[in-house]
């Protein structure tokens, strides 16, 4: 039997595993959680100046191959992400692993027909009807996860009993992995949303609000941004983040034109990957009373490097401070903490005056 695995990104392994389990008659191997070992393996075999997500995903791939996987699924397009699958396949071949690497996204777009053909390659008996049904179910699941995460991000910094949000969230992910049909998913979502709302928070009306923008993988995989969101929550800050899996896969294509129109003063054409989105979000955050913006990217992320001067310019016009972070495989954690602390102090001082 084919053993399928995929690189990790945040908690999206739950819907990914769910989908593969239901539509393919294969064994799904859950990739191990990202740890220092992952990134060590990844950096060892990657070109040195490749963007950091490449190193993380390559590391996870090697770890899942060691666990027995022989088919790896990679997503991504839009920038260098589009070439990840091919380059990683080459590297894995050179290392002597006999695996298949499949890229589900082409040219940054989801082509349903092509995905179906690819799935057929893995399992020739894949059923069309089931694929469609479970795909829609998973799209909904991702959407619900993102909606709940939005609520958590806005409130987790103010919880009265530490760790309550994460505890309920883990229960939720466990239950989501077991749903059978659409109706059950919807019921679970409503139940859990209610449970999250019941968690006691002490949130002042004028709390500090920070928007996080930047390159998608680094934003969504907490290990690669050194648990930035957790660190911010410790300082009682409300966090707003736009990039989610649902946005990237299903909303971006429709929204990008609107975004470029919104910031037509600064940019005219799409800048590749998430760069133009981030420019638009900067303007949005500035206009909606956010105290500060944190821009994170992996080192050598070219589209974001192009967006950074425009972001500084917009933020300068609205007088909102921006903190730029560039994460690599071996960034010093102390340096990040010092800068974050100073950023937080600065926002407090600005508030007081």
């Amino acid at each position: 039997m084919t053993k399928v695995s995929f690189p990790l990104m945040g908690d999206y392994y739950v819907p990914a595993k769910f989908l593969l389990n239901h539509i393919l008659k294969v064994e799904v191997i859950e990739p191990p959680f990202i740890s220092n070992k992952t990134i060590e393996l990844g950096s060892k075999y990657s070109p040195e100046f490749v963007c950091t997500p490449f190193k993380y995903t390559l590391g996870t791939m090697i770890e899942s191959i060691e666990k027995g996987a022989d088919t790896l699924i990679q997503m991504g397009g839009g920038c260098r992400y589009g070439y990840y699958a091919n380059v990683q396949k080459e590297i894995l071949d050179n290392l002597g692993y006999d695996v298949r690497v499949i890229n589900l996204v082409t040219k940054g777009q989801m082509d349903i027909g092509r995905i179906y053909r690819l799935l057929k390659e893995i399992d020739p008996k894949v059923s069309k009807l089931q694929t469609v049904y479970y795909s829609f179910l998973v799209i909904k699941m991702v959407k619900y996860m993102d909606l709940i995460d939005d609520y958590i991000r806005a409130n987790i910094g103010f919880e009265i009993n530490d760790g309550e949000f994460l505890e309920v969230r883990n229960l939720m992910l466990n239950d989501f992995a077991k749903v059978k049909n659409y109706r059950e998913l919807r019921r679970l979502y409503k139940d859990y949303f209610w449970r999250f709302k019941k968690i006691k928070v002490r949130k002042p009306d004028n709390c500090l609000k920070i928007g996080i923008i930047g390159e998608l993988y680094t934003i969504m995989e907490p290990f690669s941004n050194y648990f930035l969101e957790k660190e911010l929550a410790k300082n009682h800050i409300e966090i707003k983040r736009f990039t989610t899996a649902h946005y990237l896969l299903f909303e971006k294509a429709f929204k990008i034109k609107k975004y470029i129109k919104y910031v037509k003063k600064y940019i005219k054409y799409p800048m590749g990957a998430d760069a133009s989105d981030n420019v638009a979000r900067t303007k949005y955050l500035c206009e909606h009373g956010y105290d500060g913006i944190i821009h994170i990217k992996s080192s050598f992320c070219t589209p974001e490097i192009g967006a950074m001067p425009i972001i500084s310019k917009i933020a300068g016009e609205y007088d909102v401070p921006v903190l730029f972070f560039s994460f690599d495989a071996n960034t010093s954690e102390t340096g990040i903490k010092t800068r974050l602390e100073a950023f937080y102090d600065m926002l407090e001082m600005r508030r007081e005056k």
Binding site: P32, S35, N36, K37, T38, P309, S312, D319, P321, S326, T334, G335, T338, R339, E341, A342, D345, M346, M349, R350, E352, K353
Partner: protein
């Protein structure tokens, strides 16, 4: 009894300490080398400060800043532990309330802080590279056979500074060796080095930042007259260097300690407190976290470095 507040700034190269009174006057100050052992340096620093402190003062607040702030904060039981950016801004603002730009070059890092109406509006810190910081200067001084303190005077003698490729410390060093072997006089090379630090700072940390006067230059490197001269030349503005510029971070944290005092009186008897750190590696998961456990009088007070929060 009068009240005093102790601020300690433990940097990568030097350790600074001041004691201020209620009106922010400096009562005692000390500046020594860290030499890679912050605990030992702070013990000596406290001894130096104790000698200068008049007997009618008692310490009502302690603050620590700098790269070893957390460790020393535990050791001294400080009531406030803050990052160096905030400390420098607060320290400078107590003496120059209308400062707009603070340039700071320390041993290992360099920062720029922009202020308006007495609040920080923006800041930046060097990220990837230590080119153009104090440690680079001191290592180059050593190879040229000079003391860092004489560096500035040498630089001022030069009329024709050489150009040095200063984007990167390693390349700058090889360029420097090359210039010396070709036969350029020493003072021209030193002046070129000072100028390259200024250009590197402005291109790297100061990129995209509006530098407006009044400008204050501080940190250890501000004691180098050559660097100050080239800052003036390149920015075409007046640069203020306070006589206490090297102590600004310590003053800032002492001011913050005064503002956050808890009413407790501190004892500066350091010699009879045993303070140890133990490094162990945890192998419970593939993260292999390096844990640092801190003991005060053989009693575990804190432990850092774990990713899962078990320790």
């Amino acid at each position: 009894m009068k009240d005093g507040y102790l601020g300690v700034d433990i940097g990568s190269i030097s350790t600074k300490g001041v004691i201020i009174d209620d009106k922010n006057n400096i009562i005692a100050s000390s500046y020594i080398w860290t030499e890679g052992n912050p605990v030992k340096a702070v013990r000596q620093l406290i001894n130096n400060l104790k000698k200068d402190l008049p007997s009618d003062y008692q310490i009502r607040g302690i603050g620590t800043t700098g790269s070893a702030r957390k460790l020393i904060g535990l050791m001294l039981r400080a009531n406030i532990v803050k990052n160096e950016i905030t400390a420098h801004a607060v320290g400078t603002l107590t003496f120059y309330p209308n400062v707009r730009t603070i340039l700071e070059i320390g041993g290992q890092d360099s920062k720029i802080i922009l202020l308006r109406n007495g609040i920080i509006t923006n800041y930046a810190m060097n990220t990837l590279c230590a080119a153009g910081t104090g440690s680079f200067l001191s290592s180059q001084a050593k190879r040229l056979g000079l003391d860092v303190n004489e560096f500035g005077k040498y630089a001022l003698k030069s009329k024709n500074p050489v150009k040095i490729a200063a984007r990167c410390t390693v390349f700058a060093e090889s360029d420097l060796v090359h210039k010396a072997q070709v036969g350029y006089p020493k003072e021209d090379i030193i002046a070129g080095l000072c100028k390259s630090i200024v250009l590197n700072y402005l291109n790297n940390v100061g990129k995209g930042k509006k530098i407006e006067s009044p400008i204050i230059f501080q940190g250890g490197v501000s004691k180098n007259e050559g660097v100050v001269k080239y800052f003036k030349e390149v920015l075409n503005e007046d640069i203020i260097v306070d006589p206490n510029s090297h102590l600004m971070g310590a003053i800032g944290i002492a001011v913050l300690a005064r503002k956050n005092k808890v009413g407790h009186v501190y004892n500066l008897e350091m010699t009879n407190v045993k303070f140890d750190t133990k490094a162990i590696e945890c192998h419970r998961c593939p993260n292999n976290c390096e844990l640092l456990r801190i003991y005060r009088n053989n009693e575990l007070v804190d432990s850092w470095g774990s990713k899962c929060g078990k320790y």
